[in-house]
């Protein structure tokens, strides 16, 4: 009951940012995908092609090749934007508005408060990328519209891009919890997120990509949990 109250509150606070990212991705992703199908018809040749038998391209190639290359940059932008906005909303804004005292004096452990925030952000990413990216993937799979259907790998790569947004969120949280000055070590969390993004996007194999994401999330979460438990508010 206590945790669900915390979670409901966090989800409500995430909602405007989630909706903004969702609408952005839905709007621009749909337009780009639709215009890709129209362009193909007008020009009379396949808009993009990607040999599904040769999927050994780095993850970042998703944004450059393939049928889903149209909405992919928007997914990337919305995921990164959502990560930054949620991190700032949950951990920076509370500091500016000085509500930590009211928020933390609850009959729950501090970790419950932290996890309610992180889980609500995770749900926002899941609901951002999960349905929308699947819809784009499904739409791009129509043979009458696109010559080449996207390989199933592209579906997973879309979720990887969303996971990158979650890593940016964790980096923002880490920076928000740091008491250091902004020009010293405060931004290390975000720096580490950028490092993980570079590593993730340069993997050729999905397995290594997922491993890099899990490692990044694990390292950031351990650090965030430790900082949050001992932080002075």
């Amino acid at each position: 009951m206590r945790f669900s109250a915390l979670l409901r509150k966090e989800l409500r606070e995430c909602l405007p940012w989630f909706l903004a990212a969702f609408v952005f991705l839905l709007l621009f992703g749909s337009i780009s995908l639709y215009s890709a199908s129209v362009l193909r018809e007008e020009l009379g040749y396949p808009y993009m092609s990607l040999d599904p038998d040769v999927p050994q391209t780095p993850v970042y190639q998703l944004t450059r090749t393939g049928t889903l290359s149209g909405p992919a940059p928007y997914l990337f932008l919305s995921a990164i934007g959502l990560g930054l906005c949620l991190g700032i909303r949950q951990f920076w804004y509370s500091h500016f508005t000085r509500v930590w005292g009211f928020e933390l004096h609850r009959s729950v452990n501090r970790s419950a408060i932290l996890f309610s925030k992180v889980i609500s952000a995770l749900l926002a990413f899941i609901f951002l990328a999960g349905p929308l990216w699947y819809i784009f993937y499904w739409y791009a799979g129509h043979r009458e519209l696109f010559m080449v259907s996207p390989p199933s790998r592209h579906l997973i790569e879309g979720w990887i891009v969303a996971a990158v947004g979650f890593i940016v969120y964790l980096g923002t949280v880490k920076a928000g919890l740091s008491d250091a000055r902004w020009y010293t070590t405060k931004m290390f969390g975000l720096g580490f997120s950028v490092f993980i993004i570079v590593v993730v996007f340069n993997q050729y194999k999905i397995g290594w990509t997922i491993a890099a994401i899990i490692a990044g999330i694990f390292i950031l979460m351990i650090d965030i949990m430790d900082t949050f438990e001992s932080k002075e508010f």
Partner: protein, 305 residues
């Protein structure tokens, strides 16, 4: 001796090289209303935050209901009501929603009717958004949120700061509602001495991070005295009287602030110094507090209980 609800031992906090709280030894017995007094930047908020485990002491420790401040369990937190400085609440919530949110953390002890009655008493509606409230109204909501779970200990950090006289009175009446429930303990910081005088039965005075008095209000009021003596001839160069805190001289008048000096000793001093006349000036708590924490000759001259 009555049960101690809140206790600190040598509680000390440094921010870098700045000493905010210096070896605070405070005991708050069960059932009392303790005014935690100090000027701005005296260390009240820092001390309260350390007591509630939001700040880590540099040295020393605190305990509430016997549980270390640094590791307050959810069960202990459930017994404590806390009104934050500035009444910072979630702005996007309505009053009704913030009440429901708060209720989830006090299962079995939240009093819905009491909360609704208090909101009505303050002339507010449950539909109003917190962000649309004035600071005075936020203070009222804050108090209702802290009182509705009927906490055994209520800690309030400068709750009447920024409120006008009418709202302050309403706020204090709300506090009295809690006091009327037997066995409840209140610790509230303030620098509005009239409020303290009205409701507190015990005070703790903190000055530049140092606890300078912790006793009953009555004892403090009896102990701090001001003597005004006028002289025709030359005034004595040295003032030799026990408990002297400050001495102000004008052309023909001496003003002595004394702590813990009884009238017999004042009489004895007068017999030796031979003023033309002298009087013990009556002071209210505010005057006494100002004199007691005036930034000269800082010494604890009085043995508090």
């Amino acid at each position: 001796m009555s049960e101690i609800v809140l206790e600190t031992e040598g509680l000390t906090k440094y921010y870098g090289r700045t000493l905010a709280v210096d070896h605070l030894d405070l005991k708050v017995p069960k059932g009392c209303i303790c005014g935690f007094l100090g000027r701005n930047a005296a260390g009240k908020t820092t001390a309260i935050k350390m007591m509630l485990g939001f700040l880590e002491p540099t040295v020393g420790s605190g305990a509430i209901f016997g549980c270390s401040s640094q590791n307050l369990t959810p069960a202990v937190r459930q017994r404590i009501g806390y009104v934050t400085e500035g009444h910072k609440l979630f702005g996007w919530m309505s009053i009704g929603r913030i009440g429901k949110f708060q209720r989830a953390f006090f299962p079995g002890q939240w009093d819905d009717k009491f909360f609704a009655d208090m909101i009505e008493y303050f002339g507010l509606s449950k539909k109003q958004k917190v962000k649309s409230l004035s600071i005075g109204q936020r203070a009222q909501v804050s108090l209702a949120l802290a009182l509705a779970p009927n906490p055994e200990l209520l800690i309030m950090d400068d709750p009447t700061q920024g409120l006008d006289a009418a709202i302050r009175r309403q706020f204090l009446e709300g506090m009295i509602q809690l006091i009327m429930r037997q066995g409840r303990t209140v610790l509230f910081s303030s620098h509005i001495l009239g409020d303290v005088e009205r409701v507190a039965d015990r005070i703790a005075v903190i000055d530049k991070g140092v606890l300078r008095a912790s006793c009953s209000l009555e004892q403090f009021q009896k102990a701090v005295k001001k003597v005004r003596a006028s002289f025709i001839g030359e005034m004595p160069a040295d003032i030799d009287i026990e408990g002297l805190l400050h001495c102000r001289r004008s052309e023909k008048e001496l003003e002595l602030v004394l702590v813990g000096t009884d009238e017999e000793k004042i009489q004895r001093w007068a017999n030796i110094s031979k003023p033309q006349k002298y009087e013990i000036v009556s002071m209210n708590l505010e005057d006494q507090f100002i004199e007691y924490t005036a930034p000269v000759n800082h010494k604890d001259l009085f043995e508090w209980e």
